[in-house]
């Protein structure tokens, strides 16, 4: 139980670091990487909670969910990278423009 909790806590920590970086880093590549770090944190929580201690086999359901989650993460990362590249080419800067001007 403690080992499982250790993994899960590490996952939560990674998740928070990722979200923090997503919010404060302006560079788009940093933002996308931050999302991936946060995603890895969430997956680690799933895997940590799947541990059943002793010699028992781990719960397979969270592992299946993480697999699905990885597929989703790969696709969303690909889309985000494609959009970021296009925006970078169009504006010359890998940052989101200030949106407050739009009225």
């Amino acid at each position: 139980m403690t080992l499982s909790l250790l993994y899960a806590s590490a996952g939560v920590l990674l998740f928070c670091l990722g979200l923090f970086a997503l919010a404060v880093r302006p560079h788009l590549l940093h933002k996308i990487l931050a999302l991936n770090v946060a995603g890895a944190g969430a997956f680690l929580v799933y895997l940590g909670l799947a541990y059943r201690g002793g010699g028992a086999a781990a719960d397979p359901a969270p592992q299946a969910m993480v697999l699905t989650g990885i597929v989703v993460a790969v696709s969303t990362t690909a889309l985000a990278l494609a959009l970021a590249l296009r925006l970078g080419r169009a504006t010359g800067r890998m940052e989101l423009p200030d949106g407050s001007a739009d009225r």
Partner: protein, 492 residues
């Protein structure tokens, strides 16, 4: 086997099959995109009407995907609220598909990728509305978000690109919060099936998981102060896309919140946490409306109106656990009438943009003479958004007011009334321009009626919804936690 039984078994296929298959085919053969889009959108609308009838007559439907029952399998269910959401999505998607051809004709043809994404978005929304499994809901949320972001990019230009990317990043951050919440839920209770969790989940883990999922959904729903991504994304997308996004995609997140807090959370937890939603909702009603009043472009004004109207829903959430049936039905009616009216407004704004060449509100003088049918769309949609009788918006707000008064929540009554006045102000600001005498050229020639009728149909449906209101309100209760309760808490 009688037809009813056939429907009871195959309804998920009916809602997901054509849209998914059509989307894949339209991706492989872009040339078939238009025909597939029209055909599947029509088919989906017919299926939605058929299922509304089935649920109204035979009660809610449930299905275990692949024959695997919970706790391991993915449960699907179609109760009153779900089937109404499916109907709203199907109607807006159909009207949008009909309108898309004339909308994009001004630019040659629909951009590549429009039809596959449109059909995928329809499938993802249907999947989201019928899922009763928290993890499956995460996947559907992501699919909806990906399709929506792709559609926003089609607006072309750097602004749309930036709006889409911001929308994507915010949406992904939100869904990760949701995902972590689902993980905690599974870790604590060993299942992600909504009905099972509702019967056995309690304790601090439930509170933590719900808080994470709710925070994620707040971002996805664009509720104040997390709305910053919404106006540029909804205002910059092609008009049929804006219609779908503003009418349904943000409301899908609210729909999930309604499910989580009323079917899963115990009353004590809901009473503790939901006032936050009430405060944010009240702020959104006012903030959205004030910005709608200040907006210079029509589409941006409509997008800010979405921020404001979403506020009503979040405002209704804390009233729901106690006032029950009236607020649940009122929120369902509000979601439905807002979807229809907002869809109509955005489609109408698209026609204006194509014919007039811009959508600056200042420059819309005399529009009633140039585009009478589209201005009629604006008028009917305004009737429902402001909440004038006999529209669906009126009945929804009336039910919400009724519930708020029954509980003595006067702050909610005040916000509802202020919001209606502000909605009147920003809609009349546009309508006032339209009806001034500023254009002598008479009716605009060469505007296809096909571009305008779908929007008119949606707006008329939003108004007519009020006439069928008691029936729709009762249908929304089928399978809900408040099934069997009286619709009105207090006698007038």
């Amino acid at each position: 086997m009688n037809p009813g039984d056939w429907l009871a078994h195959w309804w998920p296929g009916l809602l997901l099959g054509p849209a998914l298959l059509g989307g894949a085919l339209a991706f492989v053969w872009p040339r078939l995109g238009f025909a597939l889009g029209q055909g599947v959108a029509l088919l989906n609308a017919l299926a939605a009407v058929l299922l509304v009838w089935r649920v109204a007559v035979g009660g809610p439907l449930a299905h275990a995907a692949g024959g695997w029952p919970a706790p391991l399998g993915i449960g699907l269910r179609l109760d009153g609220l779900a089937v109404l959401m499916v109907l709203a999505a199907a109607l807006v998607a159909w009207a949008g598909a009909l309108n898309a051809r004339s909308y994009f004709r001004a630019h040659g043809q629909a951009p590549e990728g429009f039809w596959p994404l449109w059909l995928f978005l329809m499938a993802a929304l249907n999947g989201l509305f019928i899922s009763a499994d928290l993890f499956n809901l995460y996947v559907m949320l992501e699919l909806t978000g990906l399709a929506a972001v792709g559609l926003v990019v089609l607006g072309g230009g750097t602004d749309s690109l930036a709006a889409a990317l911001r929308y994507l990043l915010v949406g992904l951050g939100g869904s990760l919060c949701y995902l972590l919440g689902v993980g905690l839920m599974y870790g604590a209770y060993g299942t992600v099936d909504l009905p099972l969790l509702a019967s056995q989940a309690s304790g601090p883990a439930l509170g933590a998981a719900l808080a994470l999922m709710t925070a994620g959904l707040f971002f996805k729903a664009g509720i104040f102060p997390f709305h910053f991504w919404l106006p540029p994304a909804h205002g910059g997308a092609p008009a049929p896309v804006s219609a779908m996004l503003s009418a349904l995609v943000v409301e899908a997140a609210f729909y999930l919140l309604m499910r989580l807090w009323l079917e899963l959370a115990p009353l004590s937890l809901a009473e503790l946490a939901l006032p936050v939603s009430g405060v944010l909702g009240s702020a959104a009603v006012v903030w959205g409306a004030v910005n709608a009043l200040r907006a210079e472009r029509l589409k941006l004004m409509i997008a800010y109106s979405t921020v404001s109207q979403l506020g009503y829903l979040f405002l209704a959430l804390p009233l729901m656990p106690l006032a029950g049936a009236a607020i649940w039905s009122g929120a369902a009616l509000l979601v439905l009438s807002h979807a229809l009216a907002k869809g109509a407004l955005f489609l109408g704004a698209g026609t204006v943009l194509n014919v007039v060449g811009h959508d600056r509100i200042r420059g819309l003088n005399g529009l009633a003479q140039r585009l009478p049918l589209t201005v009629a769309v604006f008028v009917l949609a305004a009737v429902s958004l402001i909440g004038l009788p006999p529209s669906g918006g009126f009945l929804a707000k009336w039910l919400l007011l009724n519930g708020a008064i029954a509980q003595g929540q006067w702050w909610a009554v005040a916000v509802l009334l202020v919001g209606s006045v502000l909605a009147g102000a920003y809609m009349f600001r546009v309508l006032g321009r339209c009806f001034t005498y500023g254009h002598t050229g008479g009716r605009e020639p060469g505007v296809a009626l096909a571009a305008q009728w779908p929007a008119f149909g949606l707006a008329a449906a939003a108004v007519a919804l009020g006439l069928a209101g008691s029936w729709v309100g009762a249908l929304a209760l089928a399978g809900s936690p408040f099934e069997g309760d009286a619709l009105l808490g207090v006698a007038p």
